[in-house]
Symmetry: C2
Subunit: 642 residues, 2 copies
């Protein structure tokens, strides 16, 4: 009934086929145009620019002073100054003025003594002293910029200075982006109402246009085309006629409504149909009317990665502009990453500079996780011949943010609390150079990250069942020998998150045992899970009897979202997550949520904006209070030092 | 009569005064505006963006396959498949389709066996397997991007995906650039004729606009204003009324026609009048009608450096955009650089990666040398408390080109020949990733650079007076123990460069002794100088009797330019330089011009485009031949190996 990806090729083979196609079809550049030098910033020269005129074009004064004849000053000395008459033997000139005829040196103002209509000079002047001679900067006919040169502001200056008003540059690469899919809608449609299933808001084309724009291309976005074979064919033909590169997104899969492959096949030639990479496997590359056509997969991360791997190099070849991005760095992988043999896998990572080491921490790997790209600092590639990388491996990270930004980022790994989002925003707002980036792996995960030296701080709310105290005993036990400063962020209400109006009438833990109640849990090692297990133990409830106990999520908002969507009837979470999604909330306990900071990081420059915010910023406290369920009475106070 | 720079302040003090002014005047940002998300690339968010809707907004299929109820598959096994009826118990869905009501898992196409109107499943399905649940990517209310975030393509995607159509961004900083100077002309004026003294082609404003544009600013260039106090005052007032920052260039000096200082003084307040930096000393900073006003010096390098030091940080503060340029690297200084105590000096350098070390070689230091910026890979700063740096010092280079470009650059240091310009262009044209950069220090200087490990190759034409052979004996003597491959580039005609028509009737060396003949020399260590000295010795002419023997230039074109301009009547040079400037030429000798390449660099990837060009590229040979005076018969041949 359907093709599976029997025909998929390796990444290298796919790249090779594209390059071969460009060579074979003579697609090396897309022609030239003449532009004004003053409009040429960021363009690429299509020929060498040789100086038309010299600069300076005449001998001129390099200083404010008097033009003299050097021969008149041969005998000048401290006690026997040369006396030169202004107007005949010495002429005042400003910097840049042409040398008056017959004069061949400049004496600086500071070096003369003005005497009525004469100047006194106390030492001999050498020929052409303080004179800018013809061609001192640029000599006519010399090379100003070569062909294939990306024009910078200073290059425009040099071209103008050497007499050029226009120059020949490569034409901009024209790219058409065709969004397809019957369920895809324009963003404008959700201005006043949420998307209605099966609607999906179109955004891949905007991302693709942005990426192409950064490479100096001109982009055209086609209107959204429904999943209609003839309409898609027509759009491809129109796009191929009016542009240099065609990008279709999506319809690259093998579903019953995916027509990209068939459309390219019927109009031209398919070169690649599936690539063994992840994400991005169902990429299609073809050629229609001598224009490269790329069918990119619909998942946002797949679209992004396949654009970078296949479309970007073609734009670079045609435009002559290489986007070097933010380069790459070596980092140490903080966790093990498994990968499938035979597939090149691209993993998004956060990078933190912790204790002088670059630490790369893998982010969510789903192809649909756009936010994993927004949050990522870079990507690592796990080659097809590897089954994965172990924690501690040296990896090369292809950066998506600059090293500067990364070096000014505080890495927070641990429990999730909405206050961290507010804190992150407050930092960026008031201290724009600094960032707080947080990864949510639960309280225990945070302490483990501190012990491995992967994080600058950890958010934690671990309840000791015996002492009833938070965090301290865990720090003593799991971070022995490490000096930790425990600082309070907030006290917060934990409770049951419930659908609006509590339709299932859930009033306590007993209700979790009911047949009609589905629970959603937090992951092992999270403070919320510990709280749940402590309560179940106290009430002698067997966890295996709770439906959904084994299904876990990593954040409060994910649990709230599961309840809102009907995936579950209830779960434990904090008040602010209930409030954010308009859920009901049944309070259970007030818990202390602290930040654990290794003493060695307390004095770091990057840490100060955070400490200042939680200790002194009243506006920040007010915002946190207004979210509800939070008590800021101890915010910023040191609770414990180990 | 005039102020000297008694009031100039240190760089730190100047920066401090600007910052204090911004703080005091409340100039921290310049307001906000609403833009469409699709138009927001490169803008800076003026508030946090929290997700309006979750993404996905409903449970949807993560794979092409069949939606099922997981409870129906509990008993499935290899030998006892579950049989589900299509239409009631299994529904076909494409990736992205909403989950049909009452269904809670997807079985992939690959995992089912299709049997008429049923599917067979061979293992149990877990709840929500292959289902993208609500909020899997983005949960409503979560932080998508913080305030002060520079928007990238992927951020636009995330905002659209979470329901945003518009967002609030910082307004673009508006900058007015006012070019002043009675001698300044629009570039258009030299379209069909050279500049006529005292004309100077305006280009600083284009460079400044380009630099500001790269920081996300909107720029307005005023028409050129003559040196007229009232006209300059009016332009400053107009600019302050219509923009956030005013840049005047030039008139910042202390000449009789420099009105910038007086104009700012009469309209507002002067904060800084002269900074102890070089280049860039006569910079003026003030404020008029609450708008920062910068009077930048007229020399192009001074204008560039003072823009970077003073204007750029203000744009960054107002716009929230930080241009990180290409970062910085550590390098070893190849030559001594002297500097004046009390002045922060900025020196342009070429950077080459030679034998694994970054080598920084200082370029011409004149403030008027625009080409020193075009050619520079970066700048180093010699602090005010230093008298200079010795060769071998570790320096930090603020890069003007990317590390990638620098790493693919072959550094050629040595004698100048116009063929090198043609070679450099040919490399960039046919191998766009690679560059050839050459510094002209004469043949001996080139061999010395090779011996210090500062260059990949050296152009050389050193004539041995005794053997009559070129280069080989010098390599043996000055590079003992180093394995050098000597490759011919060209044979070329050396001779007397003479004004058109040879008005002084110079016919040989004897004429150099005439009273009315001024000579221009090449620097000691250049092959041309050796040739001259050999000829003078043979003809028993005393060099001290030649007027101008002591004045030297570093390139053939500079000598040709001196002859053209009348600075000298004749000098020795190669035929192509005479031809380029339309001079007469009296041939003297055919000499061999070779490239000396250390054996260790012959196999470097970066060296191959050069070797390929001189060995195989017929087009390159044709261009060299067409320049005249060259013989390419041995081009690319190995002459000698040590």
């Amino acid at each position: 009934m359907k093709q599976v990806f029997l025909d998929s090729v390796s990444l290298e083979e796919a790249v090779e086929r594209v390059n071969h196609m460009l060579d074979e079809r003579g697609l090396q550049s897309i022609g030239f145009e003449i532009v004004r030098v003053t409009d040429s910033l960021g363009r690429v020269s299509a020929g060498p620019v040789f100086a038309k005129y010299s600069s300076p074009f005449y001998h001129s004064a390099a200083m404010d002073g008097y033009a003299v004849r050097f021969a008149d000053t041969f005998t000048a000395g401290e006690t026997s100054p040369s006396l030169l008459r202004i107007g005949s033997d010495a002429l005042y000139v400003n910097t840049g003025n042409p040398m008056p005829d017959g004069f061949n040196a400049i004496v600086m103002l500071e070096d003369v003594n003005l005497k009525e209509d004469c100047i006194e000079i106390y030492q001999p002047v050498s020929p052409y002293q303080n004179v800018r001679t013809i061609g001192e900067d640029i000599v006519a006919t010399e090379l100003v910029i070569p062909e294939n040169h990306l024009i910078r502001p200073i290059d425009m200056g040099a071209m103008l200075s050497s007499g050029h008003i226009e120059l020949k540059v490569r034409k901009k690469t024209k790219i058409s982006v065709i969004p397809t899919g019957s369920e895809i809608i324009e963003p404008e449609r959700v201005r006043n109402r949420p998307p209605l299933p099966p609607e999906i808001i179109e955004y891949n084309s905007t991302v693709i246009q942005g990426l192409a724009f950064e490479l100096g291309a001109e982009t055209t976005r086609f209107p959204i085309i429904a999943d209609d074979f003839e309409a898609i064919k027509k759009a491809i033909l129109d796009a191929a006629a009016s542009s240099d590169i065609v990008v279709i997104n999506a319809g690259a899969g093998r579903g019953t409504e995916d027509y990209t492959l068939a459309a390219i096949q019927s109009l031209g030639e398919v070169l690649v149909n599936g690539v063994s990479i992840r994400p991005g496997k169902p990429a299609i590359i073809g050629i229609v009317n001598n224009k490269p056509v790329f069918g990119l997969p619909g998942y946002p991360v797949s679209a992004y990665i396949t654009f970078r791997l296949f479309v970007k190099p073609v734009i670079e070849k045609l435009s002559g502009i290489t986007s070097e991005g933010d380069g790459s760095i070596q980092a140490v992988l903080s966790r093990q990453v498994a990968s499938t043999l035979g597939v090149d896998e691209f993993v998004r990572v956060k990078v933190g500079v912790v204790g002088g080491k670059n630490i790369a921490t893998p982010l969510g790997r789903g192809a649909g996780l756009l936010m994993s790209l927004v949050r990522a600092d870079g990507m690592i590639r796990i080659p097809a011949n590897s089954e994965g990388l172990s924690a501690g491996s040296e990896v090369e990270v292809d950066l998506l943010r600059s090293k500067e930004v990364i070096s000014k980022t505080i890495v927070c790994i641990g429990s999730h609390d909405n206050t961290l989002d507010i804190l992150a925003n407050n930092i960026k707002k008031k201290y724009p150079k600094y960032s707080l980036s947080s990864a949510h792996v639960g309280s225990m995960g945070g302490l483990m990250a501190l012990s491995r030296g992967e994080a600058h701080l950890a958010g934690t709310h671990l309840l000791d069942e015996i002492t009833g105290e938070y965090n301290i005993s865990f720090i003593k036990r799991f971070l022995p020998g490490k000096k930790i400063v425990l600082i309070n962020l907030v006290y917060r209400q934990q409770g049951f998150l419930l659908k609006k109006g509590n339709p299932k009438k859930i009033l306590g833990f007993d209700d979790l045992l009911r047949d009609d109640v589905v629970f959603i849990n937090r992951q092992t090692g999270s403070g919320t899970r510990l709280l749940l297990d402590k309560c179940l133990k106290e009430q002698k409830i067997e966890s295996s009897l709770i439906k959904g106990y084994e299904r876990d999520e990593y954040t409060h908002m994910a649990v709230a979202s599961a309840v809102l969507s009907g995936l579950a009837d209830t779960g434990l979470g904090i008040y602010s997550s209930a409030k954010a999604l308009n859920l009901d909330f049944l309070p259970l306990a007030s818990e202390r949520y602290d930040l654990a900071v290794p003493l060695e990081f307390m004095d770091m420059e990057t840490m100060q904006p955070i400490l200042k915010t939680i200790r002194e910023d009243q506006e920040f406290r007010d915002i946190v209070q207004s979210m509800g369920g939070y008590d800021t009475r101890d915010m910023g106070k040191v609770i414990f030092e180990s």
